[in-house]
Symmetry: C2
Subunit: 481 residues, 2 copies
Amino acid sequence: MSKEFLFRIVVAWLCVWLGMVPGRAQQESASQEADAFFIRRIYDEALTHCHAWDWLWHLSEDIGGRLAGSPQAAAAVAWTKQVMDTLGFDTVWLQPCMAPRWVRGHRDEVRVAHSALGAFDLDALSLGNAVGTGPDGVLAEVVEVFSLDEVDSLGEAVRDKIVFYNRPMNPRHLNTFHAYGEAVDQRVWGASRAARYGALGVVVRSMTTRLDDVPHTGSLRYEPGAPQIPALAISTRDAELLHDLLRKGPVTLYLHSEARILPPVRTYNVIGEIRGSKFPDEIILVGGHLDSWDVGGGAHDDGAGCVHAMAVIELLRKLNYRPGRTIRCVLFMNEENGLAGARAYWAASDSLGEFHMAAIESDRGGFTPRGFTADALPEVFHTKFRAATEWLPLLEPYGLTLEKGGSGADIRGLRKQGGLLFGLKPDPQRYFDYHHTAIDHIDAVNRRELELGAAAMTTLVYLLDKYGLPEGERPRDGARE
Amino acid sequence: MSKEFLFRIVVAWLCVWLGMVPGRAQQESASQEADAFFIRRIYDEALTHCHAWDWLWHLSEDIGGRLAGSPQAAAAVAWTKQVMDTLGFDTVWLQPCMAPRWVRGHRDEVRVAHSALGAFDLDALSLGNAVGTGPDGVLAEVVEVFSLDEVDSLGEAVRDKIVFYNRPMNPRHLNTFHAYGEAVDQRVWGASRAARYGALGVVVRSMTTRLDDVPHTGSLRYEPGAPQIPALAISTRDAELLHDLLRKGPVTLYLHSEARILPPVRTYNVIGEIRGSKFPDEIILVGGHLDSWDVGGGAHDDGAGCVHAMAVIELLRKLNYRPGRTIRCVLFMNEENGLAGARAYWAASDSLGEFHMAAIESDRGGFTPRGFTADALPEVFHTKFRAATEWLPLLEPYGLTLEKGGSGADIRGLRKQGGLLFGLKPDPQRYFDYHHTAIDHIDAVNRRELELGAAAMTTLVYLLDKYGLPEGERPRDGARE
């Protein structure tokens, strides 16, 4: 330290003596020190005076599960707008969109009717967007499969049957999202694939590596034109049980679900904006999605992302940081079962000719942040990503890395504007313990981990705002279509 | 891939043609590939067929809190020895030691006697090794302080008072262990410091950054010759309450504790050893401590460390790995309130002239591993640590780093043998939510995170065993004293 200090005095003296201004390298080093100091202040503030946790408590516990179109989603819109009105944005507004409205009804039921064991219920949840069974339910023999292809090869053998998709998430992946990506086709497309061959309903093993009694819902999609059949997720422990029973002999299941699809309803994205003082046309978006599944509190998915995004603004403001670029905080509606909010946002942004220089979504839970994944159009990715990696010396002391990877479902439609899109990457080990379940509540979130996520996002926004990103080969308007 | 394959064929052909054996660089590259492959197998095995979780369940839930000398500690010794007898060690044995025996008694009580609010209890736990209050308890006015020094400056003003230590852990440290290290002097030395000036008892703010109702116990030390006065921890929320009450006026507290110290009892370290096939005199130790506090289940502290160490042996065996060096798994007794087991181990090891080439302790919880801290005698540290950092390309894909830092309380006495000592470093954000509390149970542990810790330890053991460490300036026997 004192050596460095002496060195500086000598350098300063030489500068005066030679009438020189400090060279570029020296300016850069001073700037990096200022950045390191500011980032340390972001973290200090996040770990001591950040409202992310209190907000998340209210959102997940007082408001609760908030599927698009539900009264809880409306309450979440109204309340987050109120909070955002206090955060010092230049403008806060609601952006309308029409979202599908799916309701679960009173009771999801998957009952085993077994010759030796009698009848008993499995832990089950209807999949989102699924139709119900009608008041009489569905009673049929079960056929176990491990892939969509297997249904194709069985073909007519599944007619009038209930198809049971039981391929587990692969626990060997260190990144649990890879395991999810490999297994989730069963939940999304399983019903339609089975319906092609005349199946009456499907049950799907829950999307988690854990062995427990917690069913995980999540959306399915019906292929256009295919018959729509009911679909329910069962817990992994019950999936194992059903598998064991099927090894002994035929099993009959009774499904009952009152799920139904109501007419679409008007709902909103909640948006706040601080207009940039130097480059107002270069937008940096931070966001999460405001809707969640109806069961549980949507604490990790994606209350955490919403309060992360709001905390970015709170933290910058508390540190008296005035951005040169436009910072926009967007809480998207209807990510879980339709993306209506995201699509409305993309369309409006494109029609206004906006340019999102960067966008960061937090939608992988409120765990200790490990860095960001980044994505962009191939022709601009390399230039922009390399520029961002120059900040790694500032990020690494906080355990943050940058890597190529997906951004977020709500922002990926902004990719064609030519900016760099980021997804916050928290530690992924626990996410699928809670994802889309009745246990995704505030007690599953650690306050410090949540706050560190907010600090990580704020740090990246600060660097993006201060230094911008090189143009790369930014597509002209004509190229967007 | 196919290019690399072609390249290899060409190289192989050239080797044959020229009658050459592969050069060193090529051998090294092949060896790194073999290592990468083996490490991947360690992780696969850990995430699919590892007993760490089941063992931890039994240890923390069926056996439960197991302070040295308690019936639970005896059960833990007997049961872990039974399990280790099945793991394929060459030898499993119990190493006796005499441990202090502290018992809490029936009820810890910190009661506020307030003129306006009446009497009410705070959430409290007597500190370990503390004396009790006697049947009448202690009733006295409270003096709040924030450091040991403040007690010195108050001096006689604390006579016949209860001293309340209320300096919080600093939440700004990303590594919560640093915050703990800065604050824990209040718990360890606070009672004796206050007793010097005639205080009757102390209460200490719990060691956690969380604001909650959970008191954290932990050991204190009485200075030789100083009067021994009772000491209890109160929850952080109650510490805040007490602080607020004291701002309004004087507060009287009533303390009651039946804590007492019984005569020392014989207890044991549990040790298993696989004798090395090539360098049996170079010992690689993996360990944790088998005892825990009496409240809670000791799941993170340090059941996780014990099952990590046992899982290292299980995983190596399942992968048919025969170590060249001697691998020793040691479950130490009495880390929490005396280190009797560790001292017995060090003394026996020194008297046999053993050399621990390396030792790894896991005693920071069962969270996602982020790497290892390493420590050694200054004269050998640099050489050995640099050798270990050559493995970083194999560790980094699993999110593991190596840094200089403490190893573990149970192994630090082996440092003088001249080996390299490691501490497993899991993500530290949640540890002090559970440390020394009644909520340190299996439900606070994530199975995958625990298994990743076992895989990380196994990986390091594999590399240490395969490559050894350079001698450095290994101290001769004479230099050990």
